[in-house]
């Protein structure tokens, strides 16, 4: 039995080298049961390798991985009670949608009637009832994604792994699927671990996330923590389109002589303020405009909400912000 305190997934000093490349380099990680956990990072940062370490497609070079407290070092993928939604969906092209979804039950030896009924249930769960007879090739990208989801859930895994699940969908579909995935996770109550390079996706879906950089975890925490209080320049840069200010500018704007971050939406254009700069570019975003200013050697962006006056390019303006918004970073 597992006590409620047992984490769903635990990495202990896990390393995975490919030749001389340290894809995963000493990662310690705890994912709580029932969490919607995001692994965020640029390509090559080790996030996908971490996911593959959980599913068993990669073996750690050193360190230990535990799933619900059990060491899975010697357990092959087919005996791990986790399932994956693959980036390319990896649906079996020669099988019908129904047989795809029922595959996990078929290899377990569940009888035909039961497994086809279960497959139909899963297809209803992902809102594709009646699609069982089609072949994957006849479905749209969004539908294939749902089939992949149904197929992964049919085994009732304790952890569902999602590898860039929405990467191939267009924006509108992606946003709809984000909401749906979130609702599905709440309803099923199982742990979701998903990999993405899209910061908006990670922030909006996850209830905790890890930011990866060069095979290491740069920061781990709730979306609010990671967004508002980035621990390093890398996190500030990657997680939001935040201003990263060098030490001298931080001091000029009233902070200590350290690197800091300042969110564009917390910067106002004013007549009087902590600093002055020249407007170098204006980007219209719909809900507002992003105004870039040059202050000394550095560039600072301010978000001007729609309806407020946007300064002209080349104008000299002042910026003002709540001193508490200036977040000083460790590195």
């Amino acid at each position: 039995m597992t006590s409620p305190a047992t984490p769903a997934v635990e990495f202990r000093a896990v390393t995975r080298h490919f030749g001389s490349v340290r894809a995963v380099d000493g990662v310690d990680l705890t994912i709580a049961e029932g969490a919607f956990f995001a692994m965020l990072g640029p390509s090559g940062s080790g996030k996908t390798t971490c996911l593959r370490l959980i599913s068993g497609f990669e073996k750690p070079t050193s360190g230990q991985i535990r799933i619900f407290g059990q060491d899975v070092s010697d357990v092959p993928p087919n005996r791990r009670n986790v399932n994956t939604v693959f980036q390319d969906y990896a649906l079996f092209p020669h099988m019908s949608v129904r047989d795809n979804v029922a595959y996990g039950l078929m290899v377990k030896g569940v009888d035909r009637k039961t497994r086809l009924d279960r497959a139909e249930e899963m297809l209803s769960l992902v809102k594709l009832p009646g699609y069982g007879d089609r072949k994957p090739g006849q479905l749209s990208g969004g539908q294939r994604q749902r089939v992949a989801l149904a197929r992964a859930l049919v085994n009732e895994p304790r952890v569902l792994l999602l590898d860039e699940p929405l990467g191939a969908l267009d924006l509108k579909l992606r946003e709809a699927m984000q909401d749906e995935l979130k609702a599905l996770q709440k309803r099923l109550g199982i742990t979701f671990v998903f990999v993405t390079h899209d910061q908006h996706e990670a922030l909006s879906m996850a209830d905790s996330l890890a930011v990866f950089s060069d095979g290491k975890i740069a920061q781990i925490g709730t979306p609010e923590e990671v967004y508002a209080r980035p621990q390093s320049r890398f996190v500030a840069d990657f997680v939001g389109s935040s201003n990263v200010l060098p030490p001298d500018l931080t001091r000029a704007l009233g902070g200590p002589a350290r690197w800091s971050s300042l969110r564009p939406e917390q910067v106002r254009i004013a007549d009087q303020g902590q600093g002055r700069g020249i407007v170098t570019s204006i980007r219209y975003l719909g809900a507002g405009s992003r105004v870039a200013l040059r202050i000394g050697e550095a560039e600072v962006a301010a978000l001007v909400p729609a309806g407020q006056t946007v300064p002209e390019q080349g104008a000299e303006v002042a910026i003002a912000f709540d001193p508490a918004a200036l977040h000083v970073m460790e590195g």
Partner: protein, 314 residues
């Protein structure tokens, strides 16, 4: 002073004129590309096939040996004489066994090449598979005759490993040696497998190459053992390639008349029968009827393969 820019660039000669023609009339290019091969295929290839079919419906006058150009099924009836049925069954069995053996040997090689070989190893694979195709077929068959001969390297190896007596006893078995591997059905089989193996490996590898690695991971992820993943995912997806390869090995064995002549017993195969009937015997109609047999067998084979869903993954 620069010329004012025009909307149309000047024509640069014949190349541009042809490009313009093909752009205006895309079918002209298509026709130019297709007519020569279609002529070849239609006239030379299908034409001779038709001539062959026609010949098979003629018969030979048993006294004069002259071909009677009248439509008859008499020649086909001759195919069902015991000795001819024997030839057909022997050829069929050999072709089936050779195909099966080629498939079994080729699969691991093709699988390795498709899944794991990268860069230099891929080059080694292609070279290793294709290199034997660069040397003469006859040279290879005669080389095998030497290898399989009673005084050949196999016997020599057996003797030097101290199992000469067992080897000798095995060779005495009629089906295995009948005194020497180079004159036995097993010898014929070995040489057939060797000669046709590349034609199985290459299409198989091409088919396996198209199976994404994530497909296998998905099977494992959903709980399939290696054997289950092989049976339910790899095999069905590789089947078109296996069938393509087996069409080569099967039909090439069905029609070959040289290997059984050089390495083997005096028992005849279809190819050899055709060769002797049209040559020494001068019985062109029966030779033609014999030549139709592999065509019919291949049609039946493809129909069965299609029924079994071999091409569903295409």
């Amino acid at each position: 002073m620069m010329q004012p820019a025009t909307a149309i660039l000047p024509e640069r000669g014949l190349g541009d004129r042809l490009t313009a023609l093909f752009w205006r009339r895309p079918r002209v290019l298509l026709a130019l590309l297709l007519v020569p091969p279609l002529l070849w295929l239609g006239v030379v290839y299908l034409g001779s096939l038709f001539a062959l079919l026609l010949q098979s419906f003629y018969s030979i006058d048993e006294f004069s040996g002259v071909v009677k150009e009248e439509f008859t099924l008499k020649t086909y009836a001759e195919l069902f004489r015991a000795q001819n049925v024997d030839i057909i069954l022997r050829t069929l069995l050999m072709s089936a066994l050779v195909t099966l053996a080629c498939a079994v040997i080729a699969f691991p090689i093709a699988y390795f090449a498709a899944r794991f070989a990268r860069g230099r190893w891929k080059a080694v694979f292609y070279l290793g598979v294709m290199l034997p195709l660069w040397s003469s077929y006859l040279v290879k068959v005669y080389a095998w005759k030497l290898i399989l001969a009673k005084e050949g390297i196999l016997t020599w190896t057996a003797e030097h490993m101290g199992v000469g007596a067992i080897w000798g006893r095995a060779l005495d078995e009629q089906w295995f040696g009948g005194s020497s591997l180079s004159t036995s059905p097993v010898g014929t089989f070995i040489v057939f497998v060797y000669i046709w193996l590349p034609y199985m490996i290459l299409p198989m590898q091409a088919a396996l190459e198209r199976v994404p690695g994530s497909m296998l991971e998905a099977a494992a992820d959903l709980g399939a053992s290696r054997a289950q993943a092989f049976r339910t995912v790899i095999l069905p997806l590789a089947l078109p390639g296996i069938v393509a390869g087996s069409i080569f090995t099967f039909s090439l064995t069905l029609g070959d008349y040289i290997i059984p002549q050089i390495v083997g017993t005096s028992a005849r195969f279809i190819g050899l029968a055709v060769y002797q009937l049209q040559g020494t015997a001068g019985n062109i109609p029966l030779a033609a009827a014999f030549a139709v047999v592999p065509i019919v067998i291949m049609l039946v084979y493809l129909t069965v393969a299609k029924r079994m869903g071999a091409f569903d993954a295409l």
